[in-house]
């Protein structure tokens, strides 16, 4: 009894730490924006940084299941959702930076970009997927969608791949970033394929609570 109380408390602490650390990039960017230390083209810097943080949180979210399967620590499962939602959080700032600061709400130009510039198109699709997944990430939506919920949320793999393509298309010469993030994403995807064919179902459901 005492031990489990202690474990409970430890998890509360870890929970708080996760949120604190996840919000750190946001706080740092906000403070730099307010102090105007983002450089001569702050909107551009903001777009780059929030884009990278989106990708990092999406990868972190994808890494949770394999980590849980390896360690057997079922309590990790809810962090898939936590980190996924933080990915959506940074994607929202990224998208807002693009329409508000970079393109100053020039809607014809924005729609032109989305339709005609492939790297914007894939980024936008990835963003739409994240919005849908975020919107259906509640327990109530899980219940309502039933079996289709799981199928729907497989789209997170597509979002990750599209986000990586979005990044590769922006890079002009040095592919180091693409190689780094790609070499994290690839094993995470291969793991899913392996698990699918091995028929090895994970024990915990996608949203099972601790």
């Amino acid at each position: 009894m005492r031990a489990s109380m202690g474990g409970q408390r430890l998890f509360t602490v870890i929970n708080w730490l996760v949120h604190l650390v996840s919000l750190l990039p946001f706080a740092s960017l906000l403070s730099a924006a307010l102090r105007n230390t983002l450089g001569p083209d702050p909107a551009d810097t903001l777009a780059i940084e929030t884009g990278l943080w989106t990708l990092r949180f999406l990868l972190l979210s994808l890494a949770i299941s394999p980590l849980r399967d390896i360690t057997g620590w079922a309590k990790l499962t809810p962090y898939r959702r936590t980190f996924g939602l933080y990915g959506l959080f940074y994607a929202c700032i990224h998208f807002l930076t693009y329409i508000a600061f970079l393109l100053q709400f020039r809607w014809t130009e924005i729609s032109g970009d989305i339709l005609e510039r492939p790297y914007i198109t894939v980024g936008f699709i990835a963003y739409l997927i994240l919005v849908v997944l975020g919107g259906t990430s509640t327990k109530a939506m899980m219940r309502r969608l039933g079996r289709r919920w799981k199928q729907l949320h497989k789209l997170v793999y597509a979002a990750n791949i599209l986000a990586l393509i979005h990044l590769i298309w922006i890079l002009r010469t040095d592919l180091t970033d693409a190689v780094i993030y790609g070499s994290i994403l690839l094993p995470l995807l291969v793991y899913r394929i392996y698990r699918h064919f091995a028929g090895k179902k994970s024990k915990a459901g996608p949203l099972s609570m601790r």
């Binding site: 924006a33 001569p40 298309w169």
Partner: protein, 347 residues
């Protein structure tokens, strides 16, 4: 780590001026004679050459500077100030010094804008030599001092338009490339000029990257008439000061009517050729970057439009977008070079 460009700015607004002067005094003691030249080039408000004072006033006092080479002080005293209203002048507001030296595309030091200022610490611009090769009567390897000796340096205020849709207004110090070319007497076969940047992976971390798609060294080129045009400048200084490594020390090209990537930095070789030289960005993506790369609001880069540009600096809420002009606003001086050419084909 999060906000690289901001943290890596080595400058001034962070360093109190008193601390800065203290450091300078320390360096003067440590370096002795050499530092005398250094301190006088840096100390604001020293009362000597009138032109020099005007130039010094351009850059804010109290900013950390790279130590200039010994030749700089002698040359500095005789810099010809820019003629206000002349063809090498614009009255548009200058982009602040701090932004000019901390927001750079110089992939030899990394691909992010803050990388060149952060990663160029090991770069040595002195001693320096430039090889003159190819279809020329006086080929050879010349020290930078020899290259500069007969030329009077002058200041020019040019617009710089990057292919990435941002632009700056920068006061350069240099001399016309044409004057240098005449000295080395190209042969009648010389139809083009090729330029090469230093290849030195040890001091240029971008050249060490395993996943770079550029085959180093960086190379650029001009047609002979472009190279001989009076606007085309070999620059050795900026903002009344010695050229910092991140801006292409010690000697770089400035071709103000072309996209910035044509203005090759840290030049070690100038070769005269009969055929059009290969250029780095064209080798990398010929559909995106042509040999000519004239600023042209009507020919769009496949990934972005070119009819507008952002004049830096801007803040999050200020809209500093302005229309891009043909030949970056230098059309009346250079359009004649391209008469009869289809510029949407020769982009």
């Amino acid at each position: 780590m999060l906000i690289k460009s901001a943290q890596d700015i080595p400058s001034s607004e962070i360093t109190p001026e008193s601390v800065y002067h203290e450091r300078r005094r320390f360096m003067t003691g440590a370096l002795g004679v050499a530092a005398g030249a250094l301190a006088s080039a840096v100390a604001p408000g020293r009362a000597d050459a009138a032109a020099g004072d005007g130039l010094r006033a351009r850059a804010p006092a109290g900013m950390e500077r790279s130590a200039p080479a010994a030749w700089w002080e002698g040359k500095f005293e005789s810099i010809k100030p820019v003629e206000v209203g002349g063809s090498f002048y614009t009255d548009e507001p200058l982009t602040p010094y701090r932004d000019v030296i901390s927001y750079n595309n110089f992939y030899e030091f990394g691909t992010e804008k803050g990388d060149p200022v952060a990663n160029s610490g090991a770069f040595k611009a002195d001693p320096w030599s430039v090889a003159i090769e190819g279809e020329v009567d006086k080929p050879g390897v010349y020290t930078l001092e020899d290259i500069l000796k007969p030329h009077t340096l002058e200041e020019r205020i040019y617009r710089l338009r990057c292919v990435e849709r941002w632009s700056m207004v920068i006061p350069w110090i240099g001399f016309p490339l044409a004057d240098l070319i005449k000295r080395f007497q190209p042969t009648s076969k010389a139809k083009y000029v090729e330029f090469l940047t230093l290849l030195d992976p040890e001091s240029m971390p971008g050249q060490r990257s395993r996943f770079t798609t550029i085959s180093w060294p960086y190379r650029e080129g001009l047609r002979m008439d472009e190279a001989m045009h009076p606007l085309t400048l070999l620059a050795v200084g900026v903002y009344g000061d010695y050229m910092p490594p991140q801006n292409g020390a010690p000697i770089r090209l400035i071709v103000p009517w072309k996209y910035g990537f044509k203005s090759i930095k840290s030049i070690v070789k100038i070769r005269f050729t009969e055929t059009e030289p290969a250029t780095s960005w064209n080798m990398l993506a010929a559909n995106e970057y042509g040999f000519y790369a004239n600023v042209n609001p009507e020919v769009h880069h496949p990934r972005w439009r070119q009819d507008m540009e952002t004049r830096l600096p801007q803040t999050l809420f200020s809209n500093s977008r302005i229309p891009t002009l043909p030949f970056n606003g230098y059309g009346d001086q250079v359009a004649g070079l391209y008469s009869g050419m289809d510029l949407s084909r020769y982009y």
